[in-house]
């Protein structure tokens, strides 16, 4: 295997942690590091979501790299509290502060900050990827904030992972139609798709509240939609509070069926008529286009759980997932990938390798983010944009690909990509 990475498929942990914190109401991500580690990821969010994001940084300099970053961290927290009064500050480490070895947990404990909750989040950039960063952040939020108290509140915790606001909306609509009480942790559906109404609120509306994070211990169950991005928090909640836990990524027919079955099992509710109709509508859409989709050879590049679920969905469409590539290396991904494809599996490889695989496997259609656009162009194949970041087209964050309704949107996108490719 090459030492050099050419065209990476992954980003580093801190951006994943920021993603998770944007879904908490009135929360400030504070990056403990130098300034590139905020300036750059912020632009990635700007480009994908078309939204304002505000991230603080402790601006570590030459001094801190020698004497430690404690002073910068404490001053940062004090300044943020004094100027913005957030409900929560998530302290996100970087390769710099982790290599310096700052004891952020100790510093935060000693600081005794009262006005805002301050949560330490360890995200060294030289371990894992953005997905790992999201997972670590969500686990840190749940571990630090959840408090056990009777009685069980009959809610469900849903941990969506690094998905789009549109996906969260799809999930909410399904659960609403079942009349289920639930908490989304963390919920970016409004914070990263905010309306323009003046005056601008100090923090975007929406997001999970700190109270919801505290109460998540009382839920009767938890479902992580992305095992690699939220799964650790689910495991923690199950182990600590004994609640039912499951991981299902509801992309495609069978996966959405399984998701709803799990919801029914945990809550005792039955699947309503409206969702049966929704499922029927997805099947109808798939039947309409199966002559176009069947037999197509697909390459999928995405975060691990999304990649697996997409592979299963394209199989339902009669396509063959000939390349399944995960941004993040993972043993679990590898195992599961073997059960969803006989094709080539790339486990945490770069996009240069993906391009080689796309070529070798005579691919017809590619699924991936904007960084994959040149591959589709070079290889002259159909292209479906998904994942993060997508910034060479607008609006992708608004529409979900999860659930039955999201499946219809995805089916249409796939078919239109094939049609456009045919007409090129």
């Amino acid at each position: 295997m090459r030492s050099v990475t050419i065209n990476p498929a992954k980003m580093c942990q801190p951006i994943g942690a920021m993603y998770a914190l944007f879904g908490v109401h009135a929360a400030v991500p504070l990056v403990h590091g130098s300034q590139g580690c905020t300036a750059y990821p912020m632009r990635m969010f700007n480009r994908h979501f078309g939204e304002l994001v505000q991230v603080a940084v402790s601006s570590l300099g030459e001094d801190a790299s020698v004497f430690g970053g404690k002073k910068n961290l404490v001053v940062s927290i004090e300044n943020i509290i004094a100027r913005r009064h957030p409900e929560l500050i998530g302290v996100i480490t970087t390769c710099l502060s982790e290599t310096i070895g700052d004891d952020i947990d100790g510093i935060i404990r000693e600081g005794n900050f009262e006005e805002s909750k301050v949560v330490p989040i360890h995200t060294p950039s030289y371990v894992g990827s953005h997905v790992t960063g999201y997972d670590n952040a969500l686990k840190a939020l749940v571990t630090t904030l959840s408090v056990d108290s009777e009685p069980e509140n009959a809610r469900l915790n849903i941990l969506p992972g690094m998905v789009n606001p549109g996906d969260v909306i799809e999930i909410k609509q399904m659960l609403d139609s079942m009349n289920i009480a639930y908490t989304i942790l963390s919920d970016i559906s409004e914070t990263l798709n905010a309306p323009l109404i003046l005056p601008k609120p100090p923090f975007p509306r929406g997001g999970s509240s700190v109270a919801e994070l505290e109460d998540c211990a009382k839920a009767r169950g938890v479902i992580a939609l992305c095992e690699h991005a939220g799964g650790s928090a689910a495991v923690y909640l199950k182990g600590k509070y004994g609640m039912a836990a499951d991981t299902i990524c509801p992309i495609g027919v069978a996966n959405t069926d399984r998701f709803l079955d799990a919801v029914c099992d945990m809550t005792g509710v039955e699947i309503p008529y409206s969702l049966e109709q929704g499922r029927g509508r997805l099947i109808d859409a798939m039947v309409d286009v199966h002559m176009k989709t069947c037999g197509k050879r697909a390459a999928i590049s995405a975060d691990p759980d999304i990649a697996l679920a997409l592979a299963e969905f394209v199989t339902e469409l009669g396509m063959e997932p000939v390349v399944v590539s995960s941004s993040t290396a993972s043993r679990k991904f590898l195992q599961k990938a073997k059960s969803v494809t006989d094709g080539e599996i790339l486990n945490g490889r770069d996009l240069y390798e993906l391009q080689r695989a796309v070529k070798d496997n005579e691919t017809d259609i590619l699924f991936g983010n904007t960084k994959c656009t040149p591959i589709a162009k070079d290889e002259d194949i159909a292209f479906v944009r998904c994942g993060f970041p997508v910034y060479d087209r607008v609006g992708y964050h608004r529409y979900g690909i999860m659930g039955y309704h999201g499946g219809i949107y995805l089916t249409d996108m796939i078919t239109n990509a094939i049609l456009e490719w045919g007409e090129r």
Partner: protein, 458 residues
Amino acid sequence: MPLTLLNSDKAIPEREKHTYIKAPSESILPLSNVQTTPGDFTERGCTYAGCLGVVCGPIKDVIHLVHGPIGCAYWTWGGGTRQNLSDNPSFHRKYCFSTDMQEDNIIFGGEDKLYESILEAHEEFPEAKGVFVYATCAIGLIGDDLKGVCKRAEDEIGIRVVPFNCEGFRGCSQSLGHHIANDTLFERVVGTKEPEYLTDYDMNIIGDYNIQGDLWEIMPLFERMGIRILSTFTGNASIDDIAQAHRAKLNLMHCQRSTPYICEKMEEKYGIPVLKASLFGVEQTSKALRDVAAFFGLEDKAEEIIEEEVSKVSPKIAAYRTKFEGKRVFIYQGAPRAWHWVNMFRELGVETIAAATTFGHEDDYAKICERVNDGVLVIDNPNSLELEEILTDWKPDLFISGLKEKYLSYKLGVPFINGHSYEKGPYAVYSGFLNFARDVEKTLFAPVWGLIRRENDA
């Protein structure tokens, strides 16, 4: 009222020194080029961003290999959000190279991985004319011998391998990264190749990064005058262009924050004089052409070109001016554009009410203060909350800044132009000025601003 403290800064009074309202007969400048107040929501980037992101990234035919964990490389891939175009798009801006340092490498050192990575990158892309290696934050702490590894690799592959010690934490902003890039390129590249031939009219354009093709508008103006552009630093530059830059008769310096270092060194070592120019707007562009013409004795030719170009654009500019007259702008740029653009806006009838830079030094603020009227707010390294306060309380009709600030402006209902990577440029010289004016018109008069509701009028 000289220095002032904004309302959003009550808790961080040290910001007062950075915040100046220009008053008559005063020679105060806001404090600049110092460490950011921790946790103040700065918009600044890192030293690595200044080195690779700004200065070296536009060089189109070398492998830019980032030594560190993956993030840093990902952010600068394809120029990041910077639109520094080149005529080698199938290589430049398409590939991103990183050593993707893992925990083991941080503990035991990353020298072997770096060495292997250089060799492999060269093997995959043997046509690349060099390998530039950038150290990012973690590398500065673990003490990899960058120089030694690059030397060894260079001996092995036989093309130039240049290390840049531009770890993000080294400076207080991108600015130190510019300096490191200048020094390294001067030491390792400039003067290593002789031009095929020389003319009496050889000139370098230093400090233009060909944002959305600026240079492709700038160069023909000088070429029509009879000047040969020997080298551009670094927009659309080949490493060979930079290698032969030492033979120019004149350095024309555009961005005067990111490149004065190399200009000084070339003046010292090769005796190349420096001419500072601003190539935005009619007046400044004409002045630059005249200054260059005077140096080379090409005045008549220059006047011809100026007359032709000005007659093409000035009726259109006059029409825009009638529309824009009385509008007020807040300019926030990296550094020099903040003052380049005060005059450009004035030609459009738009007055500057506030001006700010991310990484300006004293000389940048001196130039801003020379150009703006009394009562204008001049602020160094403004943070997100200050920007919000200025946009809300000072009520500019237009904000010109970068991508991160764009959505703040939009969410506050303030028309906005991206001055870093442009809306639809190029924006330089006469032709670009029309693009600029067109974009200003689009955003100022977009009907959507009139549809925004206030919460309580709904």
